[in-house]
């Protein structure tokens, strides 16, 4: 009896999830009248605006990840090693981006860093790019910090540090060649999640007026019929790939740990 109910609940849920995915896939193939074709995909992938905006967002994602790793790994390491008392405070700060909506944060940026302010980042394209990258780093902060901190919990930070120091390593060597390789799986998990967040992000890029993939998607959706569905399929594929890679590296790392 319970089992019938369970299957029922699962099937209804699966239907809610599956139908939009089937819908968008089917729609994306319908561009040519009467037959299924990949015309919409060909059109989208051939669009120079797609290539530009997608390239821009990939680049932004990579810079965000790089900045995030450089900021978070040393901070989380330092908190664990030297400043355990600062932990609750740091954790609270890293949770703030979940509390304050992205649209409010970017609103603050626009008001704080406009051309007539003390730090006129929005005055130039490069400055706005940098501001957007900081914005993305803020959005990714809760996930990145949580991920790295969980990774650090599994290793003995103090012993590794003293061992490295006794061999004459400086702080940069310790972080780069001892700590980072040990938490690589956690860093990569955070990195893939960051990538998935940044690649389709709309609000910040649109309000800072940067040519990112999210605003391009929205504009295309307002003007075209079949191409948006194709882009939705591609976006879903990217999200799926990022999540799949996280699972893969986590499983891979468990495997290597078990062998020891």
């Amino acid at each position: 009896m319970t089992r019938i109910w369970s299957w029922g609940a699962l099937l209804i849920g699966a239907l809610i999830f599956a139908l939009p995915l089937i819908g968008m896939t089917e729609f994306s193939l319908k561009m040519r009248r009467g037959v299924y074709s990949f015309d919409a995909y060909a059109k989208v992938l051939g669009d120079p605006r797609f290539q530009e905006t997608f390239g821009y967002s990939v680049l932004m994602a990579l810079f965000t990840i790089l900045f995030g790793v450089l900021l978070i790994v040393p901070t989380a390491y330092w908190v664990r090693l030297k400043m355990p008392r600062a932990r609750p405070f740091i954790e609270f700060v890293t949770l703030l981006p979940l509390v304050i909506p992205a649209i409010v944060i970017v609103f603050g940026y626009i008001r704080l860093y406009n051309t007539s302010s003390w730090l006129p980042l929005t005055g130039t394209a490069m400055g706005t790019n940098i501001l957007l990258m900081f914005g993305y780093a803020t959005l990714a902060l809760p996930y990145m910090y949580r991920s790295v901190d969980t990774g650090l919990r599994t290793i003995d930070v103090a012993t590794l540090t003293e061992a490295a120091q006794s061999l004459g390593a400086g702080w940069i060597t310790i972080l780069g060649r001892v700590i980072l390789p040990n938490v690589m799986v956690a860093v990569l998990s955070g990195a893939f999640l960051t990538f998935a967040i940044v690649i389709g992000e709309f609000t910040m890029a649109a309000l800072l007026d940067r040519p990112a993939f999210g605003p391009y998607l929205q504009q295309l959706g307002a003007n075209r019929a079949y191409e948006p569905a194709a882009l939705a399929v591609i976006s879903f594929g990217i999200t799926w790939a990022c999540m799949g890679l996280i699972q893969l590296i986590t499983r891979f790392s468990k495997h290597t740990k078990a062998q020891r």
Partner: protein, 307 residues
């Protein structure tokens, strides 16, 4: 402990022969804070100051004096109705997300389904809860939009016209349906560990004492799960309340909800008063702040059962 062992070993050995250490170590203590400087600088510049700018702006008149007029103005006309629609939308999608997500998670964890279903479901939930924003709107347009898969199927094969039934994807109901696509998976992700924490012994103890399945749920399982359920509800609420991209891509600026109103205000000052814009954003922080505070408080309360 490992650290101490290592230092003693080092101090006994020939390596550590410098008695100078006490001096610099005392001087080092305040320097520890320096290690947090980059993070603190980043957080202050790109998280805390921008937020404070909004908060202070909400309480200022255009000439910089303190005023409560902006906050008062939130309770008028289209702004009040925008907040009301947003709150209804968030409550409805959070409630349905919780119910359906709970049913699915309970089916997989407790319902005696084959074990292999669990892992794909959780993976898929991870993907779907991150598949929000503009592409999600496209997916729903292609499915139940005016010429979407289901709409066309119902009209041509079954003779049911969704538009005649009053259904419109670009409306409150349509947006709620779309939000469920990321609300349900989020619920599944968060509630599955809580369901795992229900010990089999509790169920057995209840049965031995003569409880029916319904009594077990009403008097044992649900009270234990209650903090997790309510906490996740608060999280889903905040999640829906702050979302911009899906709504914007689906309905354009026409639906009167707070995030879209703020979006239009930032782009073109549609309210005609920058400080009213600050107040609008401040109201959003207050509401999502309360919801998240409830979530964090209840999560710490529910964690003691999960050990």
């Amino acid at each position: 402990m490992g650290k101490h062992a290592l230092s003693t070993r080092l101090e006994n050995g020939a390596l550590v022969a410098k008695p100078k250490r006490a001096g610099p170590r005392r001087a080092k203590l305040p320097l520890n804070w320096l290690g947090l400087m980059p993070f603190a600088l980043f957080a202050i510049l790109f998280l805390i100051l921008p937020t404070l700018k909004i908060v202070f702006g909400a309480f200022q008149s255009p000439d910089g004096a303190f005023t409560l007029d902006n906050i008062r103005a939130l309770n008028t006309g289209s702004i009040r109705s925008a907040y009301w629609v947003s709150i209804k939308l968030s409550l409805l999608t959070a409630l349905l997300g919780c119910l359906i997500g709970f049913a699915m998670a309970a089916a997989v964890v407790l319902g005696g389904l084959p074990k292999w279903i669990r892992s794909p479901l959780l993976t898929f939930s991870g993907v779907a809860s991150n598949f929000a924003g503009v592409p999600l709107a496209f997916a729903f347009l292609a499915t139940i939009g005016p010429v979407g898969l289901i709409t066309v199927f119902l009209r041509t094969k079954l003779g049911i016209d969704l538009r005649d039934l009053g259904f419109n994807l670009l409306s409150f109901v349509g947006l709620s349906l779309t939000y469920l696509f990321f609300q349900i998976p989020l619920m599944i992700l968060i509630i599955t560990p809580a369901l795992d924490g229900l010990k089999r012994e509790w169920k057995e103890a209840a049965t031995v004492l003569g409880a029916t399945g319904f009594q077990y749920w009403r008097m044992v399982a649900l009270p234990i799960l209650f903090p997790s359920l309510l906490g996740t509800f608060a999280l889903l609420f905040a999640n829906a309340f702050g979302a911009v991209a899906t709504a914007y891509a689906l309905t354009g600026p026409q639906l009167n909800i707070v995030p879209l109103k703020l979006f239009a205000q930032i782009r073109g000052d549609v309210l005609g008063d920058p400080h009213l814009g600050y107040a609008l954003a401040f109201g959003m922080i207050v509401i999502t702040g309360i919801a998240n505070a409830i979530y964090i408080w209840l999560r710490t309360r529910s964690e003691r059962w999960l050990k």
